[in-house]
């Protein structure tokens, strides 16, 4: 049983009240956040207020929904009315949105108990959570290691049991990579299935909000709750069907594809764990088919060109005039904007703004941006034809396990390479779920991802669920947080 169902049972069977449960989460946050640094703000008062409302409903004998009263968290780039939303950047310090993100509206309507906002790489740019203005989140399996990024805070909080689940965002792997590092489940939905309204943009054509959870079952419940069409996001279409009902479908005869290129340059222990998972699938009656996807080698450069180009435009608005950080001493408007941005953005953000500005500038647009867009089209068709010959694609989530703190900062380009297995899914707009598939010799979790057809969340979650069920005896929890 997943954490959400467990909590739901606890509440409806009156094993504990929602307020008690919420308090114990808040206490655990108090105890462990100093070390995990998962939360950048804790909203205890609001959480308790919602919890009390849920308790009143239960006391009145009313039925409650699956997500009602379940303590959770949001990545700090998802807008929450009246609650500071900073993207973990100095430039947005003090910024309290005057509106709610669509996903938060949906969850609020279900009385979700938000414990606080979680840590992330600044503007979701990074793979270790260490570009955060508030310092990186730690890995709950070993706090000398990073939680991954950019949604490191959510993954750390869920892995550390100081949130039952959370919503992150995934532009090039920012949900799946930290989920993999922290031994939890992370679903990056099909582009367009979850509204981006209220998600502070990094790269608009790649960004997608999705759940980070303890189990596949939880991911399915949360995804079904947030994958609604939203007229405020023109690119939103919602999901065509729910995923929960088909989780336990038999996967006998399911064709699981493995692209050889996904295994290139992947560390041996990771490769082994993924191939072991393939064996598990065989034992469940699935068929493993190998194929080539040579276009994958272009995925990383295509990703960094498109993502940075869009970021350079999306981040132009932070000028100190309307909200957020503003420099203290300046001489005129131009100087104020320059100083605000120089002081307000961290190095990684500046690097990507510069890169993005360059690839869009006159004389370079055709050589970089346009070429990348053309290649994006080629990658999309390559995935589409690959997915005609198999139902889902199995791949490592990250070529390695969580690295030690400080490593990513020292070599940014090498760090970009850690995204190699996750970015293709964003480029192609496809759904991908990362689930734990073992541990390395140091006890750090290894993750694998299942990639599906466009709007094929039900299939990948079904395959992921069956694996998790078959491997439930291999599950290891962390020492932190609330034990349900």
């Amino acid at each position: 049983m997943g954490s959400i169902a467990k909590i739901h049972d606890m509440l409806t069977s009156k094993q504990c009240s929602c307020a008690e449960l919420t308090k114990s989460y808040l206490e655990e946050i108090e105890k462990s956040n100093g070390e995990l640094n998962a939360y950048v703000s804790v909203t205890g008062a609001e959480a308790l207020k919602t919890a009390e409302a849920v308790d009143k409903k239960i006391a009145a004998g009313e039925e409650i929904g699956m997500l009602e009263g379940v303590p959770m968290t949001l990545k700090d780039n998802i807008s929450t009315k009246g609650i500071e939303t900073t993207c973990c950047s100095k430039i947005l310090t003090g910024y309290k949105p005057i509106y709610d993100a669509s996903v938060w509206e949906l969850l609020q309507a279900q009385n979700a108990v938000m414990l606080g906002k979680t840590n992330m790489d600044e503007f979701a740019m990074g793979s270790s959570c260490e570009t955060s203005y508030f310092g990186g989140a730690a890995n709950p399996f070993n706090t000398d290691h990073v939680a991954g990024g950019s949604s490191g805070g959510v993954a750390s909080a869920v892995g550390g049991n100081i949130a039952a689940y959370g919503l992150g965002s995934d532009t090039g792997g920012s949900i799946r990579q930290p989920a993999s590092f922290c031994g939890v489940v992370g679903l990056k939905p099909t582009y367009g299935s979850v509204s981006r309204y209220g998600l502070i943009a990094y790269a608009s054509s790649l960004d997608q909000i999705g759940p980070i959870t303890k189990s596949v079952e939880d991911a399915s419940i949360v995804f079904d709750a947030i994958s609604k069409r939203d007229k405020r996001d023109s690119t939103s279409v919602g999901s065509k069907k729910t995923t929960f009902d088909s989780l336990d479908n038999d996967i006998k005869g399911m064709k699981i594809g493995i692209a050889r290129e996904y295994l290139d340059g992947v560390r041996d222990d990771v490769k082994e764990a993924v191939l072991n998972a393939a064996e598990v699938y065989k034992s469940l009656g699935a068929e493993i088919v190998y194929f080539d996807l040579p276009i994958l080698k272009f995925a990383l450069p295509v990703y960094y060109i498109i993502a940075c180009a869009e970021a350079s435009s999306n981040l132009g608005r932070y000028d100190g005039i309307r909200y957020g950080y503003k420099t203290e001493h300046y001489n005129g408007t131009h100087d104020m904007i320059c100083r605000t941005r120089s002081e307000g953005f961290g190095d990684e953000v500046k690097r990507r703004i510069l890169l993005g500005t360059y690839v869009l500038s006159a004389g370079y647009y055709d050589a970089y941006y346009k070429k990348a867009q053309n290649l994006r089209g080629t990658i999309i068709s390559a995935f589409n034809s690959a997915l005609e010959n198999c139902d889902v694609i199995l791949a490592p989530t990250v070529p390695m396990t969580a690295f030690e703190k400080g490593h990513a900062v020292s070599d940014p380009v090498e760090t970009y390479l850690t995204d190699i297995c996750t970015v293709p899914v964003n480029i192609a707009g496809l759904p991908g779920v990362s689930i734990p598939c073992g541990f390395n010799s140091n006890g750090m979790p290894i993750g694998m991802q299942l990639i599906g057809k466009s709007f094929g969340e039900a299939e990948i979650l079904n395959a992921a669920y069956k694996y998790q069920q078959a491997q439930s005896d291999k599950f290891i929890d962390t020492k932190w947080g609330v034990k349900l």
Binding site: I98, L199, K231, S234
Partner: protein, 470 residues
């Protein structure tokens, strides 16, 4: 050497849709600063634009009115530049796939000013400088605009003025904008270059930004033409640059040179989906268009037999032409209707603004009734004129001022009686007429009119008298 002026226009027109292009805020002009705003149009982090389809429809109507081709697939792009009045640091506009391609505006000299394209985009807010501080008002931010980009086909200041007037006229006709230059709902960037007469090559151009009156456009172009010719004559070269026009001094000055020109880093806006326009929608919109001024003008001349001058005056504003059309319904002489409007009604709608709104107490139907009385010979022109004045004062109908005894004329026998009487009692005039004094007949007709107290038909009376004495 003689130099020819070469000019092309980029004309921004604010569309009069009820709401903004990417959110539900009102487009109303004015309002306390930052009261017509929402998270989307002030570009708060995380907000997304949603295209107002009405903007597409308005733009298509504009495109059809200037004979443009409506694209089946159009896209929105981001134009990146940093300025405090632009809340997102990019303007959502169109570069790579605009909504309307080509088209032209035909001038009275028969020349067609070709259009390169028309695209849709959002307006920016504006800065307010006060007490040494700068404030920003985003009310205008997100108001929909079309930008009409012409080819460099304009060859004189008169053509430039007429081009702007024609655009203004046709856009007001189709009802997509009030095109008020003084309120900024129509603004022009004017590109000017010169070249030796007879040359086919284009000279280096300068661009005068944000012109907000036709007078200033003319003055700025004149100044710029002279400046460029002087520069070339004295051995210099025109530098490609962006200029601003100073109304007070009547001169242009540099805003930025080509080297400092913005690199807008245009790229497809990933937040907005492709705009598909079906041919059925285009035809539907075409069918909703009113008769356009150029077509109306031609019809008034060719079919109603109006002089060109009259036709132009009547078609200048849509309301006047509609008034005229309604007043003409079933009348024998559209020229009479035209005369009443241009003569008497225009005297009461003196300013252009009055003519545009054409708020007249007498309804077109009332004028129509008056003209029909005239047509049928029941009243004469003088009476009609004085009656119209009373109608325009009061808003009442013709029959409120003309009694039964004033009309109805007189029957033919009575007329013959009166004519006989006139001939018998004026032998001198009859004699004169017989001796070739054509004018003498007027005295006889005058006698008939006097004795009929104005009710006789003068033309008929004259022919009767001629029969009797001729």
């Amino acid at each position: 050497m003689k130099y020819e002026l070469v000019s092309g226009f980029e004309t921004h027109i604010e569309l009069s849709t009820k709401t903004k292009i990417f959110c539900g805020c009102t487009t109303q002009f004015g309002g306390e600063p930052n009261t017509h705003c929402c998270p989307v149009c002030i570009g708060l982090p995380g907000t997304l634009p949603v295209l107002n389809r009405e903007v597409v429809r308005f733009a298509i109507k504009a495109g059809l009115a200037v004979h443009g081709e409506i694209a089946e697939v159009a896209k929105m792009d981001r134009k990146n530049y940093c300025y405090p009045d632009l809340s997102k640091a990019y303007q959502i506009s169109q570069l790579y796939a605009p909504l309307i391609i080509g088209g032209y505006v035909e001038l009275s000299n028969g020349r067609k000013i070709r259009l390169h394209h028309i695209h849709i985009e959002e307006d920016a807010g504006k800065l307010i400088h006060q007490h040494g501080d700068t404030y920003v008002d985003y009310n205008r931010g997100g108001v929909p605009l079309i930008e009409i980009v012409s080819e460099p086909d304009i060859r004189s200041i008169d053509e430039a003025k007429e081009y702007v007037e024609k655009l203004q006229q046709v856009m007001r006709y189709v009802g997509i904008s009030d095109c008020k230059m003084q309120e900024g709902s129509m603004r022009c960037d004017v590109n000017v270059s010169v070249r030796p007469e007879g040359s086919e090559e284009l000279g280096t151009r300068t661009e005068i930004k944000n012109m907000n009156s036709i007078n200033n456009i003319a003055k700025a172009m004149e100044y710029e033409y002279d400046r460029q010719v002087d520069l070339i004559e004295s051995g210099g070269q025109v530098v490609q640059e962006t200029l601003r026009y100073d109304d007070a001094t009547g001169t242009t000055s540099s805003m930025r040179s080509k080297e400092d020109a913005h690199d807008y880093r245009y790229f497809r806006d990933p937040d907005l989906v492709t705009i598909n326009v079906s041919r059925e929608e285009v035809e539907q919109l075409r069918s909703e268009l009113p008769e356009l001024p150029a077509d109306k003008c031609k019809r008034y001349i060719d079919e109603l037999g109006l002089p060109e001058k009259d036709a132009q005056l009547l078609t200048k504003y849509r309301k006047i032409s509609e008034y005229f059309d309604e007043a003409c319904e079933g009348v024998k002489s559209p020229k009479s209707v035209s005369n009443f409007i241009i003569g008497q009604i225009f005297r009461r709608t003196e300013t252009e603004a009055d003519k545009e709104s054409f708020d007249v107490k007498t309804s077109p139907k009332q004028l129509n009734e008056l003209v029909k009385l005239l047509d049928s010979g029941k009243i004469r022109n003088n009476l009609a004129k004085s009656t119209l004045e009373k109608m325009l004062d009061s808003g009442k109908g013709a029959l409120d001022f003309i009694s039964e005894s004033d009309m109805g004329g007189i029957d033919e026998n009575a007329l013959i009686e009166l004519c006989k009487n006139a001939v018998e009692s004026n032998p001198k005039a009859v004699e004169d007429f017989k001796n070739g004094k054509e004018k003498a007949i007027k005295a006889l007709v005058g006698n008939v009119m006097k004795n009929s107290r104005g009710k006789a038909d003068a033309v008929l009376a004259e022919s009767k008298i001629k029969e009797m004495i001729g």
